[in-house]
Symmetry: C2
Subunit: 427 residues, 2 copies
Amino acid sequence: MSHLNAEIIAIGDEMISGARIDTNTAWLSRRLAELGVDVHYHSTVGDTLSHNTDAFRIAVRRADIVIATGGLGPTRDDLTREAIAESLGRPLQLDEASLKHIESMFSVRGRDMPERNRCQAMFPLGASPIFNPQGTAPGVDAAATRADGTASRIFALPGVPDEMKTMFDASVAPAILSLNHAGRHIRHSVMKFFGIGESDMEERLGDMIDRSRQPRVGITVSSATISLRISAMADTVAECDSMIASTRKEILDRVGDLYFGDGEKFEQQHAVEAMLKERQQRLVVIELGNAAPLGDWLAALGDSPVIAGGLSLADSGELARFTRQPIRPTSADAEGSDQDTRYEDCFRVVREHFNADWVLLVDRYPDLTAVDGRVTPAVPVTFQVSGPNGQIVSRESRLGGHPSIVHPRIAKAALMLLRNELKQSAS
Amino acid sequence: MSHLNAEIIAIGDEMISGARIDTNTAWLSRRLAELGVDVHYHSTVGDTLSHNTDAFRIAVRRADIVIATGGLGPTRDDLTREAIAESLGRPLQLDEASLKHIESMFSVRGRDMPERNRCQAMFPLGASPIFNPQGTAPGVDAAATRADGTASRIFALPGVPDEMKTMFDASVAPAILSLNHAGRHIRHSVMKFFGIGESDMEERLGDMIDRSRQPRVGITVSSATISLRISAMADTVAECDSMIASTRKEILDRVGDLYFGDGEKFEQQHAVEAMLKERQQRLVVIELGNAAPLGDWLAALGDSPVIAGGLSLADSGELARFTRQPIRPTSADAEGSDQDTRYEDCFRVVREHFNADWVLLVDRYPDLTAVDGRVTPAVPVTFQVSGPNGQIVSRESRLGGHPSIVHPRIAKAALMLLRNELKQSAS
C-alpha cells in the first residue's frame, strides 16, 4: 500500500489573528488518517495574496495532497483561486457550467447574481470545480506536477464547516481513495466509553490503536468521554462491515465494561433516556453545590416525557429547607454506602413534586471559582440513585483534574451510576 | 514604528492527527497583535524531527519572530530542542543553571531527577533558557542570523497552556517589546458587552477597531458575548493608563448601553451576583423547555448566598403541576407584556420554596435535537422577571442562530433583562 501524505492549509484573517479557532483542520486530519493518508503539516495564512501563494508553493513541494479551506467567497478578500493559479503559474479562466450553477442558486431565491459572484466561477487552467450542494462557492480540484515529475493534488474547499464537510465526504474522500486505493471502499463506526482515563484506555486497547492496523481504531477524548472511531477499508462494503464487526467484538472484549453506545454525538444521557423510555419511567436530578450541568443536558434531550426536571440548590441544608424534611442521621460508616439514607425523606418529596420514578443526586460539585486554570485536587463527591422501589444506592468518588472538565466529569460519573442501576432494574 | 512579523509553530502528534484542537496559537496571535507584531503564518507539525526542522527552517527564513509551542518534555517524542539546533546548524550543549533548576523542581517533591529529564537542560549553542516557574521544562530563546544578515528570533515554549501563557507574558512579551519598542510599556483592559451581533458592534465602533489605532481595540466574540480588549503602548505605565481611560470613555459613548463589566472572565452572571449581594437578595431561576444553562452558570458562581437555586421543567404545564397552582388566564394582547400575569401564582410558590426574592423565568428553550448543525430560525421566547415587590416584567424576543449558541444566547438575553430590572430596583 502506497502511503500518501498531506498538508492542510486554513485561510482567513479571522484565523491568523486568533479571533476564531480553526476546527476544520483537526476534522480533516482525522478523516485523512482514516483514508490511509499521513498528515505532515498544517498551515494557516490570512487574506494576503503573497502569503497564500507562498503557502501553496511550499505545500505542493512537500505534500502529495493539499487540502485548503476558506477564501472561496465572492469578496476581494477571497484569494484562494488566485493563489492557486499563481503558485502553479497558470491563468484563471471562466467555467461556464459553474457560472450557470451559481446563477441558478440565486435565481431559486428570486434574485439576480451580483456581478462580484462571477469570480467564483473562475478556475486555474486545467482545474475542475468541486460541486457544492449547500452554497454558491464551488471548490477547486487542481493537479500539479513538480519539477521532478512527481504529482501533487490540491483540493480547495469553503471555510464554512458544514459545506466543507459535506464536500469532503461527497467528493474529496472518494477522489483520494481512488488515488490511493482505487476501487476500495471505506466504512466507519463510532463507539463511546466513559469511566477511564485516556492513557489507561490506550493501555487496555494495546496494539489495537496502532496506526497501521486494519481496521484502524482512532481514539479521541472530549471532557472525559472517549470515542473510538473504527475505519475499515476493503474491496466491498460487506467486507468493511464484517471487519468492523469483528473489531467491535475485540474492543468489547477488552473495554466492554465502559461502553455505553454508538455514534459521534451519542452521550450517556441518551443511553439513560432510552432505558427510561423502555421502562416508561421518569427521572429528576438534584444537583447540589457549584454546578448543575445535568439539568441542562437532560433538558436538551428534546421534548422527552421521561425527563421530569432538574433541581439545583447550594447544599443539603437548602435541600432540607426546600423539601421541609429532615436530613436523617447517618453513621459515618454508612456515608457513601448503600446504608446511607440521610436524604430518604427529601427524595420522597422531590419525587412527588416532580412526578418522578427515579431520583439522581450529586452532593456536591466543588467550588472552582478560586482555581484559576490550575489542576484541582480530587475531592470526594457523593452520588445517590433512588429507583421506583424507593431504595437508595450511594457511592462516594474522588474526582479532580483540569478545572474545565471537573464538573462535567462529576456529572458523567453520576450518569454512569444511574445507568448501572437502570440496567439492574427490570425493564 | 518598525513592523515586525511573526510565525507560530505548534508541535505535537495530538495536534497534527486532529485528536486535539490547538488553542495556544490563537491566544499567541492575539497577544502578538497587541505587541504590534503582524502574524503572517501558523504552522503545525507532529513529533517527527525532519518535519520540525523543516518548519523551523522555513519560519526563520520568512518571519522576524518565531514562537513555537510543545515538544519540550523529557521523552524521546520531544524534539523541539533538537529541531532548533539542527535548523540553525548548531550543536546542543548542557546549561548547568537549567539542570540545577530542574533537579531542584524534583527535590522539593522529595524525588531524584530521572536521567531522561537531563535533556531538558540541553540548548542549541548560543541560545538561552526561558524560565518556567510552573513546570520542569525551560523554554528556548535563540537568535538566528539569515544568509542576508537580517535577524530572526526563536522563542520555544511548552505546550501546556497555563505554563505557555505565564512564560509568554513574563518573558517573551517583554523581550519582543524591547526588540520592537525598546523602553516602552504595554497595558490592557477588557470590557464586556451583550445584546448585539459582532458586525453591528463593529459598525458602531467604526474606526476604533482599526489595527493601526493607538490604543488598539481588539474584538472577540464567545457565544454572543463580545469582549473588547484595549492594548495601550507608551513610554510610561501612567501614560498607558490614561490612554486606556480615554479609549474606554469613547467606547462607552458609542456602545455603553450594552456594557456590563470588565475582565476576560467576567460574565453577566457576575454582574447579577454583585447587584444581588449589594441588595442582600436571593434569586431563583426557572428554566422551561430544552435547556437549563442558567442553573449551571449561577451555581458555578461559588458558594454565593444570593443564589437560591434553579428549577428545570419541560413546560408551563409541568410548572403548574409542580407548584400546584393554576396558570392564570391571560389575554393574547397581554402575552409577553408587563400585563402578562399568567405565572403569578406559580412564582409565589417557587419563591417560597427556594426562599428567594427574585424569580427569573425562561419560557422556553427550543428543541434543537432535530437541527443537526444547521442554523435555526428565530423562535419566540418569553422572559419574565419578578422582584421582591411581586410585580412581573415580561418580554418576548425572537432568537435564533447557529445551534451551538442558541441556548446560551437565550440564557444571556434573560440575564440582560434581569440586570435591567435589578438596576431599576433600589439597592
